[in-house]
Subunit: 218 residues, 2 copies
DNA sequence: GTCTATACGGCGATAGAC
DNA sequence: GTCTATCGCCGTATAGAC
């Protein structure tokens, strides 16, 4: 069994990462055994643990890379817009494309967060940073598009990312969920949130009060 | 080894369910081995598989029961309100309490959906029905509170449940997340959504357009 | 420090006898 | 329903080559 001069660590990491990216996308996370990853990448099973700690650490690395690419793409697309609304539409279109074509990334991102955020500080940190990058891209996008700092723009980012993740979960339950409806609804909400933060008088939606019906008292 | 007359199936199911509810809440899902469940409930390991198919089937049963109780509680609380806004506040308070006190239910609900919705039609169906029950409770609550049918009230439900789940994920990443902020933000959004559906002229938030800055063309 | 090979313990899940 | 295997897969431990 020739052991040859060993490859540089980075090369090995890359082989593992690309094999894992392919197999996780194809067969899912749970459906991809570490033994199979070792075989596919041509690297010993124990070396995978040496590099990534455990299967979840490998997943975190795969997802971090994949998601970063998407964040960057969407950001750049939005920057090419010539109006604030177009910037929003481009961002939403990017999110939608990701849901349609790479939902496994979003799905596993959620899964990883829920499964290991307790007890694995390193992975939690990695996920938190990824989320922070996505959200600050949105905040920056809003600032650029509107041309001014929007108060509490963080919350707009939270809502967008929250609804994005809700779509992923929703598709799992209702595969024929209407993305048109969901995204146009989200568009409307974001427009309202930004507008009401720029002009707080818009929050006067309490026209609900007078319409209130009479319900039996407890 | 006396095998005795076997207990009725329902009694056995109940023993398993209550043991699982307790252990899943205490030690988490992954942290609770089926062997331990068998020991704690006093029922043989294989009988658990006999009753629930597999560990995930058991989890689905546990969650269905626990979540149904919460949906009912929140619904009843909202019905006791004397105005539309109070009904919303009661519903939001109920959701918040659930996040604060029983977030493991929401967390595992999400996890189960993401992990097994493919490949396990029974569990997917169970989760979808649960989601549908929660959403139709919201829709009915809105109808009762406003005293009229709100067009596309489904989407309001989707947004509320989506943000609820986003909070659960968010807390996993940022344990000191401000629930005050998140829920008051959600309150604002729901009020807007309902109001704009009752009076579509409110959707004229396109005051963003004039503020649009000039960005470099691609 | 980087990697291989083997063996082993733990857990979910199934099969078959009773 | 219970029991006793038994399988597969994650993860670890160990020992050692380059």
């Amino acid at each position: 069994m020739p052991r040859g001069p060993y490859q540089k660590s980075d090369v090995t990491r890359e082989k593992i990462l690309s094999a894992a990216t392919e197999l996780f996308a194809q067969r899912g996370y749970a459906g991809t055994g570490v033994d199979r990853l070792a075989e596919k990448s041509g690297i010993a099973k124990t070396a995978i643990y040496y590099h990534f700690g455990n299967k979840e650490g490998l997943l975190a690395a795969v997802l971090d890379r994949a998601a970063t690419v998407w964040i960057e793409n969407i950001k750049q697309s939005a920057e090419r817009a010539s109006s604030a609304e177009e910037a929003l539409d481009r961002a939403l279109a990017g999110m939608r494309t990701m849901v349609e074509e790479k939902s496994w990334i979003l799905k596993l991102l959620l899964l990883l967060t829920l499964e290991v955020a307790d007890e694995k500080p390193e992975i939690r940190k990695s996920m938190r940073q990824l989320y922070a990058r996505a959200r600050s891209s949105i905040v920056a996008g809003i600032r650029d598009a509107v041309g001014a700092d929007v108060p509490d723009a963080d919350m707009v980012g939270n809502v967008m990312l929250g609804q994005l993740q809700a779509v992923v979960v929703g598709l799992e339950l209702v595969p024929d969920l209407s993305l048109d409806e969901v995204f146009s609804n989200l568009r409307e909400i974001v427009l309202y949130m930004v507008a009401s933060r720029l002009d707080p008088s818009l929050q006067e939606t309490a026209l609900l009060q007078p319409v209130a019906p009479v319900l039996p008292e407890a």
